[in-house]
Amino acid sequence: MSLLVAENLGIAFGGVKAVDGVSFCAEAGQVLSIIGPNGAGKTTLFNLVSGVYKAREGRIVLNGRDVTGLPPHRLAALGLSRSFQNLQVFTRMTARENVMVGRHLRERRSVIADLLRLPSSERQNRATRAAADDLLRFVRLDGAADTPAGALPYGALKRLEIARALASEPKVLLLDEPAAGCNAVETEEIDRLIREVADQGVAVVLVEHDMKLVMKISDRILVLDRGRPLAEGPPQEVRRNPAVIEAYLGPGHAREAAHA
C-alpha cells in the first residue's frame, strides 16, 4: 500500500487552474520527484498535499486514511512533513531551537506544566535537545547549534529545514527544491541526505530543478506542465519522452533531442 496517495487534485486561483487532475503515489523508501517548467504547479501541489491550501477537487490519502482538507498541524501529527522552497526558518531562534520546534508533536504539551516548569518538563526539554542535536549532526550543522538561524548562510538553512522536517519523525517527507541555490558540494550533501532518509523507509517526494540530482536520485518522476500531468515513470523513461522534451525546450526540439 502506498504511504501517500493523491487522486485527481485540483485548485484554481481566479479562474486559472494552477493544479488540475494530478494524481500520484509515494512509496515507503522511494524517492518520487516532481518536475516541470516554472509555473507548472509544483509548489502549489505541495501546498495542497501539506494542507496549506485546501484542494477544491480530489482526494488525499495518507497511510490509508483520507486526510483531504485537514489543516497542516493535523497532517503533521499523521506523519507528513515538508520543507519550503522560499525558506521558512524561525530566524530569531537558534538552529537547535528550530529543530526543537520540529519535535513539537513528540513532546507532551501542557501550557500549565510549562508555566510552572515542573521537573518533568525539564527532563523532556533535555530529551528534545538531545534529539535536535542528533539531527543537527545528521545534516552536519552541529557546529552551528547555538547560532541564530537568521545569521546562517543559505546552504545551511536548506539543511536546517530538512533537519526540522525530520524532527517529527515523518513517514512522508515533501522537499521543495532542497538544492536550489546550492553549490556542487552542498548539492552532493543534500543528495546524500535524501538517500539516507529514503533508506530509513520514509517516502520522499521531491520538487527539484537540478536535473542531474533528479535523474540520479529518483525512483520515479512525475512531470507537470501548466498544472496538468504530462508524464510519469522511471527516470530513464521520462527523459526520453518527446512530450517532456517539448515542454522543456519548446516544439521542434523533440526530434533533435531524440537523436542526441
Binding site: 512533513s81 526558518v89 524561525f90 531562534m93 513539537h104 510549562d114 508555566l115 516548569r117 528534545t128 517529527s168
Partner: protein, 318 residues
C-alpha cells in the same frame, strides 16, 4: 543551553536584589508608592510581552483586562459580599475567560486588523465600566474595600511595596519559565513563520489563544493589585490611553524580553514623575524621550544594551 538558564536566573536575582535593596535608598514613603506602581505596571507588561514579544500578536485593548481585575476587587466585596482575595481570583478567571471567548474569533486576524479588533474590545470594557454606574460608580469611580488576609489588614505604601514586589517576582519567574519549553518555542516559532510552525505540528490558533489568555490574566491580577493598593478605582484605568501605555512599556523595554518589559515599566512610570520639573512641558518631554529611545535603541532598551555589551566584550577579547 546553559547560557540561557543562567541568564534566566540572573534576571530573577537582579530583580530580587533590586526589590530588596531599593528601600535602603528611599528617602520617603512617596518612593515606596511609585515603586509599587512600577511593580504593578511591570506585571501587566510582562504578561503583554508573552503575547506581543513572544507570539508577535498585538493587543491595543489590554487595559480592558486590567480594568476587569481592578473592578472585580471593587464590585465583589461591595455588592456581592465576596472577600477581596476571592474577588481577585474571580477577576483573573473572568479576564481569562473573556480573552478565551473573544480570542477565538479575533486572533484569526493579523497585524492592523488584530490591533483594531483588540482596541474595540478595550473600548467596550471601558464603556461598560463607565456606564453601569449602579455597579461601578460611573465615571467618578468607586472605593475599593481593604484587602484582609488571615486577619491581617494590608495597607500602607511600604506594605504594598513588598506585596507587589513579591507578585512581580512570581510573575517574572513564570514568564521566564515559558521561554524554553514547547509552549514558548511554539509561540516564538509562529511569530517568525506561521506556516512553518503549522507544518511542524504547532496548533497555531491554540497557542495564540493561550498567549492571549496568559496576558489577560497577568493584566487582571495587576489591575486588582492597583485597585486594592489605591483603595479607589476609576474607569480611566481601563481606558485606551492606559492600553497604549502598556504597549509602549513592552516596545520601549524590548519586545520579547522579560527584563525589557520590567525596564519599560520603570521608564514609563518614573519618567513622568521625574519630568514634573518641566511643568507644562512635561508630556511634551515624555513624548520626545520615548521617540529618542525608539530612534537610538530601536530594538528596545534591554536587547539594544545587551547587543552593545556583547559587542564591547567581543572588542575587549580581540
Amino acid at each position: 543551553m546553559r547560557s540561557f538558564s543562567s541568564s534566566r536566573l540572573a534576571t530573577l536575582l537582579i530583580l530580587a536584589a533590586a526589590i530588596a535593596a531599593l528601600p535602603l535608598i528611599f528617602p520617603s514613603g512617596y518612593y515606596f508608592r511609585v515603586a509599587a506602581l512600577v511593580w504593578i505596571s511591570a506585571l501587566a507588561a510582562i504578561g503583554l510581552n508573552v503575547l506581543m514579544g513572544q507570539a508577535g500578536q498585538v493587543s491595543l485593548g489590554h487595559a480592558g483586562f486590567f480594568g476587569i481585575g481592578a473592578y472585580a476587587v471593587a464590585i465583589g466585596p461591595t455588592h456581592l459580599g465576596i472577600p477581596p482575595w476571592a474577588s481577585l481570583l474571580l477577576g483573573a478567571v473572568l479576564a481569562g475567560g473573556l480573552a478565551y471567548l473573544v480570542g477565538r474569533p479575533v486572533l484569526r486576524l493579523r497585524g492592523h486588523y488584530l490591533a483594531i479588533a483588540t482596541l474595540g474590545l478595550g473600548v467596550l470594557v471601558s464603556i461598560v465600566l463607565t456606564n453601569e454606574s449602579r455597579w461601578t460608580g460611573g465615571p467618578d469611580g468607586m472605593p475599593v474595600p481593604r484587602l484582609i488576609l488571615f486577619g491581617w489588614r494590608v495597607s500602607g505604601a511600604e506594605t504594598w511595596y513588598w506585596v507587589t514586589g513579591g507578585a512581580l517576582l512570581v510573575g517574572t519567574w513564570i514568564a521566564l519559565n515559558l521561554t524554553d519549553t514547547p509552549t514558548g518555542r511554539a509561540l516564538r516559532a509562529l511569530h517568525d513563520s506561521e506556516v512553518a510552525a503549522r507544518v511542524a505540528g504547532v496548533d497555531v490558533a491554540r497557542y495564540k489563544l493561550a498567549a492571549f489568555v496568559i496576558a489577560a490574566v497577568y493584566a487582571s491580577l495587576a489591575g486588582s493589585l492597583l485597585a486594592l493598593m489605591n483603595g479607589f478605582i476609576t474607569p480611566d484605568q481601563a481606558g485606551f490611553l492606559h492600553s497604549v501605555e502598556f504597549v509602549t512599556m513592552v516596545v520601549v523595554g524590548g519586545l520579547g524580553s522579560v527584563a525589557g518589559a520590567i525596564v519599560g515599566a520603570v521608564v514609563l512610570v518614573t519618567l513622568p514623575q521625574l519630568l514634573t520639573a518641566f511643568q507644562d512641558y512635561q508630556h511634551l518631554m515624555l513624548g520626545l524621550l520615548i521617540m529618542l529611545f525608539m530612534i537610538f535603541l530601536r530594538e528596545g532598551i534591554v536587547p539594544s544594551l545587551r547587543a552593545l555589551w556583547r559587542l564591547r566584550a567581543a572588542g575587549a577579547a580581540a
